[in-house]
Subunit: 365 residues, 2 copies
């Protein structure tokens, strides 16, 4: 038998900028074109963004090679069929490797468009232009792309870093109230895992946030992006510490799936954060009144923190087994040590929790 060694060299660094401001949509294409003067631009968005006038603001006098409008908007379209339709539309438009994909929209648009960009001709650049509280705080940054399977959330996808991210808080003005509030849960999550001072800021300024005051929105966008970028830089491919961004997401994803996406991502993560708090309590990790402080902030968001009556708890438990953090089908949880920092056990941030503890908590929810 003969052996040949193939040495694939390390890739170079992949750095990118997040630009945060108000009313910057109209500058995006010209800005990206200065880096890719000969590339074609292909837009992925959904009908909500057209209706709100954001697509017109983004394109404003620029030529683009084509567009794909995801219909219907929302999680129900976050499946591999949508990705296939986007890349076939790009093929039909005769596009090549010299194409930039623009993702204008919320988490679904960003995740699906990023996935499409990552597999079109084995990868073309994507520019993320998030327009919701959840995507501006979380999903547009960090290079995770993906779609749901018929069973679980974000089951299929790639790591594909954006060429750049443009966070325009002015786009939040047109977001409906339910989505606006649900997405703020990711801000609460960032503060809980990383920055007690930020959590206090949220406690003190939540009324202004809910009134959508631009200055405060820019402030939290900046803090969210800094926290997320800081974690992603340390561990871009989620070998370990990146999983802390999954705080509240283990039960959150399962609840979201089990509701057939009737419950929004942020709402489900709200339930998941409460669930994580109850697990922490059962394991004796909660020593101060922090669970009440967390609950108070989430209550003020008015997003519904109970599992709906119709939900089958056995099915939620079953879904936990196929969570991406599971090892040998045993689910693992990120847990808080205190507000602003997470636990680690033997250097691992995703901790195995006994089935009895999980079942107790599901009963309590």
């Amino acid at each position: 038998m003969k052996s040949i060694n193939v040495k694939i060299p390390a890739t170079s660094e992949q750095n990118y900028q997040i630009k945060i401001g108000s009313d910057l949509l109209g500058t995006v294409i010209a800005n990206v074109r200065s880096f890719y003067p000969k590339h074609a631009f292909f837009l992925v968005t959904d009908g909500e963004l057209i209706k709100a006038g954001h697509v017109d603001k983004l394109i404003a006098g620029q030529t683009i090679a084509g567009r794909y409008v995801i219909e219907p908007a929302g999680e129900i379209s976050k499946h591999i069929g949508t990705v296939g339709a986007i890349i076939e539309a790009m093929e039909a438009a005769n596009l090549g490797r010299d194409t930039v994909v623009l993702a204008l929209g919320g988490g679904v648009v960003g995740d699906v468009a990023g996935f499409a960009a990552s597999i079109f001709k084995r990868g073309v650049p994507v520019v993320q232009v998030p327009t919701t509280t959840v995507s501006q705080a979380d999903s547009a940054i960090g290079g995770k792309t993906g779609v749901d399977s018929s069973i679980s959330k974000n089951a299929f996808g790639t790591f594909w870093n954006p060429f750049a991210v443009y966070v325009d808080v002015a786009t939040l003005k047109t977001l409906n109230e339910r989505q606006f509030r649900a997405g703020l849960v990711e801000s609460v999550k960032h503060s809980l895992i990383m920055d007690a001072g930020y959590f206090e800021f949220i406690e003190q300024n939540l009324d202004k946030v809910l009134a959508r005051e631009p200055g405060v929105l820019e402030e939290i966008a900046g803090r969210n992006c800094s926290i997320k970028a800081g974690v992603v830089e340390k561990d871009p491919y989620e070998k370990n510490i990146r999983c802390i961004l999954n705080y509240g997401h283990t039960i959150g994803h399962a609840v979201e799936s089990a509701s057939n996406y009737e419950i929004l991502h942020g709402e489900a993560v709200g339930i998941g954060i409460i669930a994580a708090g109850l697990i922490e309590k059962q394991l004796g990790l909660v020593k101060d009144g922090r669970l009440e402080r967390v609950r108070n902030v989430l209550k003020k968001l008015d997003i519904g923190l109970k599992m709906p009556e119709y939900m089958d708890k056995a099915r939620v438990f079953e879904l936990l087994r196929s969570d991406k953090k599971s090892v040998g089908q045993v689910p693992r949880f990120v847990l808080l040590e205190q507000i602003g920092s997470v636990c680690s056990v033997g250097g691992q941030y995703a901790v195995e929790v006994g089935a009895d503890v999980i079942k107790n908590v599901l009963d309590e929810l």
Copy 2:
């Protein structure tokens, strides 16, 4: 406006081994399991491999978590729907990130299974076990995965390096004659772009190769893997020199697509190599009798070197524009300087060729 820089560090090297021998199928799983003792194994293959007994030899007493049999075998199944079906089957089997995908089969199995592995839970390891002349020489090595769009060949895919490659030349015994011969074109291609001595070896030993003498098959497998690995190491993501592996593939891919895959990949590349030779002649690059030498070797393979009568040459020309090497829809070609080395123009190996030259050559084919 605020800016935040995200610094994604370089990835580490990704090295892997190619093992080449005869009758080594039965050792593959145990060998991989020594590196991944707790991982589940998921097999992707097709009905031909079951019928030939290779699946039984591979599994032989080992436990695997599930399998997906691509039906029908062949290029017609190389589309994104098959990839979706494989990853849904993996989800249904409750598999997680701790899964190894085994790809046992020809180019279609390897490309589709590698693509599936690269997007399942954002990427799990794949082990390539190629069983055809084309996959052992070419597609199983180098980390390119992909499927065809409704318009063009390998339009969608990823770069995903295998964990290991096992080349068992004994599996070639059961390959049908047409596929066996067509796949040898990739060996001819490797010799043409890289190694005049290897081309002479093929000229002198083609009868033994066609008689499937194991010693000669191991010899050419080793040479193919060394040449391919050498190029891939220099340029894993095809920024430049890797495109020389595409010699004969520009018109080859277009012919293959235009035939709706009635013409096998290797047969189409045979036509593409002749086409490249005719382009070289028109451009005055051919100064010796090399075109005849190349034609003689390919003729001996008896794979049909003419475009079929039914083929629409305008459609072939149109397809060239969406080739992945095209820039601004202008096709580019890899061309030979002499047997064993390729041309480069200003450091570029994919060279723009005028539409008139291409049309002349298409008429001549």
